[in-house]
């Protein structure tokens, strides 16, 4: 049997007097995927939309933060609108025994905003390490990349740079809410 999904696993004390409704928590997850409302008492608004109490909503959010289900709570910015129009996905074909070290090194670089290991799909796709650079212009991103290659000694690691040319969609993940 699969374990219960994270959003249903809450300590009994979250509910205060009685058990918190599982449906209420699911509705809260759905609402949160769409964002915190811009009302003076947003957690009360969420309570009204989910059938939970305002206290339950705040406790659930705090607990999801503590458990790492929510990794950050705050303003989610569309960088492209601000002028970060040079968005490069840089992919590397790293020997398996070096991928973790390189991944960690890349993640420590200030201008790298994401870094993941993914499987190769040979023969079409030889790259197993992915990182993202959000920059203001293409030339600057490319020169940052050159510096990075020199600093970390990556001249022998095959790589490709995939600039994005158009965003057809960019929004938060909707795991449990409807499209």
């Amino acid at each position: 049997m699969k374990p219960a999904p994270d959003y249903l696993v809450l300590a009994p004390d979250v509910a205060g007097a009685g058990p918190t409704s599982a449906w209420g928590l699911l509705r809260l997850r759905q609402q949160l995927e769409l964002g915190i409302p811009l009302t003076p008492r947003p957690y009360k608004t969420l309570a009204e939309r989910t059938g939970l109490s305002e206290q339950d909503v705040m406790s659930a959010i705090r607990q999801w933060q503590e458990r790492g289900l929510i990794k950050r709570l705050g303003l989610v910015i569309k960088h492209r609108t601000l002028g970060y129009t040079a968005n490069a996905m840089v992919v590397w074909d790293v020997p398996d025994d070096q991928v973790q070290n390189l991944g960690r090194a890349l993640a420590r670089t200030s201008f790298i905003t994401l870094c993941y290991q993914r499987p190769r799909r040979l023969p079409e796709w030889p790259y197993n390490l992915f990182c993202m650079i959000h920059g203001v212009d293409r030339q600057r991103v490319l020169s940052q990349l050159e510096t990075l290659i020199a600093d970390l000694g990556l001249e022998q690691i095959p790589h490709a740079v995939l600039f994005s040319t158009k965003a057809y969609r960019q929004r938060g993940g909707r795991y449990v809410s409807r499209d």
């Binding site: 999904p5 994270d6 959003y7 949160l32 769409l34 964002g35 915190i36 811009l38 003076p40 957690y43 705040m58 959010i61 705090r62 289900l69 929510i70 990794k71 950050r72 709570l73 705050g74 303003l75 989610v76 910015i77 569309k78 609108t81 601000l82 002028g83 970060y84 968005n87 991944g103 960690r104 890349l106 993640a107 790298i112 905003t113 994401l114 870094c115 993941y116 290991q117 993914r118 499987p119 799909r121 079409e124 796709w125 990182c131 959000h134 203001v136 490709a160 740079v161 994005s164 040319t165 158009k166 965003a167 057809y168 969609r169 960019q170 929004r171 938060g172 993940g173 795991y175 449990v176």
Partner: protein, 154 residues
Amino acid sequence: MRLDTTDRQLINLFQRDLPVCDRPYQAMSRQLGIAEEEVIERLQSLQDSQVLSRVGPVFEHSRAGASLLAAVAAPEEQIDLVAARINHAPGVNHNYAREHTYNLWFVMTAPDEDTLDERLDELEHQLRLPMLRLPMVESYHIDLAFDIDWESLP
């Protein structure tokens, strides 16, 4: 898009750690030295101008449900059409054109792995294009809330 000092401060201070209290926007307004209503109005206006996607939690996707990065090589003259079909599929939250033979890159999400696989199979069948499926093996750095370098922006 140019923002004024207060909007910049709002973004600098609250990409993380939005207060969880009765009146979070009031708590924020005190830090900024403006009125609570002004915080709400500014957030609304940032949202209307597409600077702000939402105020929200960002979920840790490996724990929030299932998700996967996928790519297809669309014929260049059909790329908008293929992208629209991808957007039409359930659970797609990112979809970008990129400069490569694999020219469309998207992230699909679902409540669980089985549903995700079904959605991807269905989409692959509809598109009649082979799909690269690239699940995350390990994340070394995942948080997108980097500090905005205001001086470098156009």
